[in-house]
C-alpha cells in the first residue's frame, strides 16, 4: 500500500511537471494550478505546526505578513527574491510571537487566540495606511524575473511562477519528511502527545512550540510572498482573509493530519474541484467543498482521507515512521 502511495505521488508529480507544455502554456490554468500548489505548501506548513500539537485558526496572519513584507521590500527596490525571503522572516517572527504569547494556551483556546491574531493583523493592515496603503492596499509589485540559467519558456511569466510554486512545494515536503525522521520530529511529537510528560522527560515544550510556529510561519509567509509576486497587488482583505486560515486547516485535516503527502494532495484536489468544477457553473457555491469536507472529517473520518488507507503493517524492526 505504501508503495502504491509513492507510485501515485510520482505520477502526480510527473503530470504536474509536464502540465505547462501540455496545456500549451495556457495562462489561466497555469495560474490556477500555481495557486493550488501554493495552497498545498500552506497546508503542509499548517500540518507541520499540527504535528507539534498546535491547531492554528490563523495562518492568514503568517501568509499575510509574508505577502506584505515581500510587497513592501519589493517596492523598496529589493530584488523580488530577497523580498520574498524578508517576507518569510517577517512571517516567522510574527508566528514566533504568537507562539510565545500563547505559551499557556492549548487546544481550542490556542485556536481562538490564533484566529484573533490574524484578525488583529488584518485590522493593522487596514488602519496603518502610511505603510500598508490601508484598505486599498499596495499595487505595482514587480513580477518575478526569469531565471537566466533555464530556458526562457519555463521561467517567464505564468510558467515561471508555476515551476517556482511546484519547486517550493517539493522543497517544503522534503523538509517536512526530513523533520519527521529527525530529532526535531521526535521533539514535536513529544510536545504533541503530552506537553506535561514531555517536560518531565527533559524536553521543555515551549522552545519547540515556538520553533514549530516559526517554521510553519516561515513557509506560510514564503508562500504569501510568492503569491503577491504572482497577483502583483496586496490588500488586507485579500491576504489576511480568513480564507487563508480556513483552507489550510480544511485541506490538512481532510488529507490526513500528520501525514506527509495527505495535506498537499487534498489541497490540489479540493482547490481544483472548487475552481474547475464549481466556479464556472455555480460560482456562489464554489467554497462548498471546503465546508462539506470539514464536516465530513470531523464527524466521520477523524483521520482524514489518509485514515481510509490501511495503516502500514507494523514492521518487525522499529524505526520506520514514528
Amino acid at each position: 500500500m505504501r508503495r502504491l502511495t509513492w507510485i501515485g505521488a510520482g505520477l502526480v508529480a510527473a503530470a504536474l511537471l509536464l502540465l505547462p507544455p501540455l496545456s500549451g502554456f495556457h495562462p489561466y490554468y497555469l495560474y490556477l494550478v500555481s495557486t493550488a500548489l501554493l495552497f498545498g505548501t500552506l497546508a503542509t506548513a499548517w500540518n507541520l505546526l499540527a504535528y507539534a500539537g498546535q491547531i492554528s485558526f490563523g495562518h492568514a496572519a503568517f501568509f499575510g505578513l509574508g505577502a506584505y513584507g515581500a510587497a513592501l521590500a519589493s517596492l523598496g527596490r529589493f530584488s523580488p527574491w530577497w523580498a520574498i525571503v524578508l517576507g518569510g522572516l517577517l512571517g516567522a517572527g510574527g508566528a514566533g510571537v504568537i507562539g510565545l504569547a500563547s505559551a499557556r494556551l492549548q487546544g481550542a483556546y490556542l485556536a481562538l487566540a490564533t484566529l484573533a491574531y490574524a484578525e488583529i493583523w488584518r485590522g493593522i493592515a487596514h488602519n496603518w495606511s502610511e505603510v500598508s496603503g490601508g484598505g486599498a492596499g499596495l499595487i505595482g509589485i514587480p513580477p518575478l524575473p526569469p531565471l537566466p540559467w533555464l530556458p526562457l519558456d519555463f521561467t517567464r511569466g505564468r510558467a515561471g511562477s508555476y515551476y517556482l510554486s511546484l519547486a517550493f512545494l517539493l522543497v517544503v515536503l522534503a523538509l517536512f519528511a526530513g523533520i519527521l525522521h529527525s530529532r526535531l520530529g521526535l521533539a514535536f511529537a513529544a510536545v504533541r502527545e503530552e506537553e506535561e510528560r514531555a517536560s518531565l522527560l527533559g524536553v521543555h515544550p515551549l522552545p519547540w512550540k515556538i520553533l514549530a510556529f516559526a517554521l510553519s510561519g516561515f513557509f506560510s509567509a514564503l508562500a504569501g510572498g510568492l503569491y503577491v509576486h504572482m497577483v502583483r497587488v496586496v490588500e488586507p482583505d485579500l491576504v489576511f482573509s480568513r480564507y487563508f486560515s480556513i483552507l489550510p486547516l480544511v485541506m490538512a485535516t481532510f488529507g490526513g493530519l500528520h501525514t506527509l503527502l495527505g495535506p498537499a494532495t487534498a489541497a490540489l484536489g479540493l482547490y481544483l474541484v472548487s475552481e474547475l468544477l464549481l466556479q464556472p457553473y455555480v460560482p456562489v457555491f464554489h467554497q462548498l467543498p471546503y465546508g462539506l469536507a470539514l464536516i465530513v472529517v470531523v464527524l466521520y473520518l477523524p483521520g482524514g482521507l489518509a485514515g481510509l488507507l490501511p495503516s502500514p503493517r507494523p514492521s518487525p524492526h522499529r524505526g520506520e515512521g514514528r
Binding site: A101, R104, L112, I120, I246, I295, L299
Partner: protein
C-alpha cells in the same frame, strides 16, 4: 470631547451592550450544555437579520413583530446543529471549533447566494428619531433594541431560575451524567437549549439589522464579541454577562467616538486575544468538568 458628548456616548454604548448580552447568552447556553464552541454563532445572527430584512421588505411590518418570525425560522437549523454537535468527537471544544468553522463558511456561502454581497439595513421609519432624556438625546431605535434585548434576557433568567425546565438545563450543564442518573431528561434539555438559543439568535439578528448594515461575512465579529463576553463573565452567569455586555458596548462606543469606526474590528480582536491570554484556561472554567 464635551461632557454631554461623553455621556451620550456612554449611554449609547450601554444600550448596545444590552444587545451584546442577549447575543452572548445564546452563545454560552449552547456552550454550557454541550461544551461546544459555536463559531457559526454570528453567522446565524446575520442569517436571522437577512431573513428579518426579507420579511420586512416584503410585508412592511414593524421590525419588532418580525423578531419572533426570524427566531422561528432558525428552529430547523437548531435541530440540525444539535444533530451535528451530538456527534462531535473528543476533545469537544476543538472539534466543535473545526466543525463550526466549516458551518460558518457554508452559511456565508448560502447568504452570498441568496442576497449577493449587498449591504442591507432594516431602515424602518418607526425606529428613527430620538428621545430627549435629561440633557441626552437617545436614539429611539437603540432604545427599542435594548428594551427588547433586556426583556429577552429577563425572560431567560426567570425561565432558568424559576422553572423545572430551567433546573433541568442547569443540572445538565453542571454535570451531564449525574443529571441523567437523577432522572433528568438531558437529551430533551439539550434539544430545548438549542431551539431556544437559535431562536434568540435569529431574533437578535433582526434587532442587529436595525442598527447595523448586514453583509454575509459580518458574522465573525459578533462571534468574537460573544466569546469575549463569555470569557469575561464565565459560562451561565447571567448577571455578570449583563455587566460585561454593557462594559463592552461602552468600550466599543468610546473607541468609535475617539478614533472612528475603522478601529472597531481591531479592538474586538485585541480584546479577545488579551482576554484569552489573561485567563489562559478553559471558558467553562469554574464549572465542574
Amino acid at each position: 470631547m464635551s461632557l454631554t458628548t461623553l455621556a451620550q456616548t456612554l449611554a449609547s454604548g450601554a444600550l448596545l451592550g444590552c444587545f451584546y448580552t442577549l447575543m452572548a447568552l445564546a452563545f454560552s447556553m449552547v456552550l454550557s450544555v454541550t461544551r461546544a464552541l459555536n463559531l457559526a454563532h454570528g453567522d446565524l445572527i446575520i442569517l436571522g437579520g437577512y431573513l428579518g430584512y426579507w420579511f420586512w421588505s416584503g410585508s412592511g411590518l414593524h421590525p419588532l413583530l418580525l423578531v419572533p418570525v426570524a427566531g422561528a425560522a432558525l428552529l430547523p437549523l437548531a435541530l440540525l446543529w444539535q444533530w451535528l454537535f451530538n456527534r462531535l468527537p473528543e476533545p469537544k471544544e476543538l472539534s466543535s471549533l473545526v466543525l463550526t468553522f466549516g458551518l460558518s463558511l457554508l452559511l456565508q456561502n448560502i447568504m452570498l447566494a441568496l442576497w449577493r454581497g449587498e449591504y442591507r439595513l432594516i431602515a424602518s421609519e418607526s425606529l428613527t428619531g430620538s428621545i430627549r432624556l435629561g440633557g441626552l438625546r437617545l436614539n429611539q431605535g437603540r432604545l427599542i433594541v435594548a428594551a427588547a434585548a433586556l426583556a429577552a434576557v429577563g425572560g431567560l433568567y426567570l425561565a432558568l431560575t424559576r422553572t423545572r425546565w430551567g433546573r433541568a438545563v442547569r443540572a445538565t450543564s453542571l454535570d451531564r451524567e449525574a443529571a441523567a442518573l437523577l432522572g433528568i431528561n438531558v437529551d430533551q434539555a439539550t434539544r430545548t437549549t438549542f431551539l431556544l438559543a437559535l431562536a434568540l439568535s435569529g431574533g437578535a439578528g433582526v434587532l442587529f439589522a436595525t442598527l447595523h448594515y448586514l453583509y454575509p461575512a459580518g458574522g465573525i465579529e459578533l462571534t468574537l464579541l460573544a466569546i469575549v463576553l463569555t470569557i469575561w463573565a464565565g459560562v451561565g452567569r447571567l448577571r455578570s454577562v449583563l455587566v460585561a455586555g454593557v462594559l463592552l458596548g461602552v468600550i466599543e462606543a468610546l473607541t468609535v467616538a475617539w478614533s472612528g469606526p475603522r478601529w472597531r474590528e481591531l479592538v474586538v480582536a485585541l480584546l479577545l486575544l488579551a482576554s484569552l491570554l489573561a485567563r489562559s484556561g478553559g471558558l467553562a472554567g469554574g464549572r465542574s468538568h
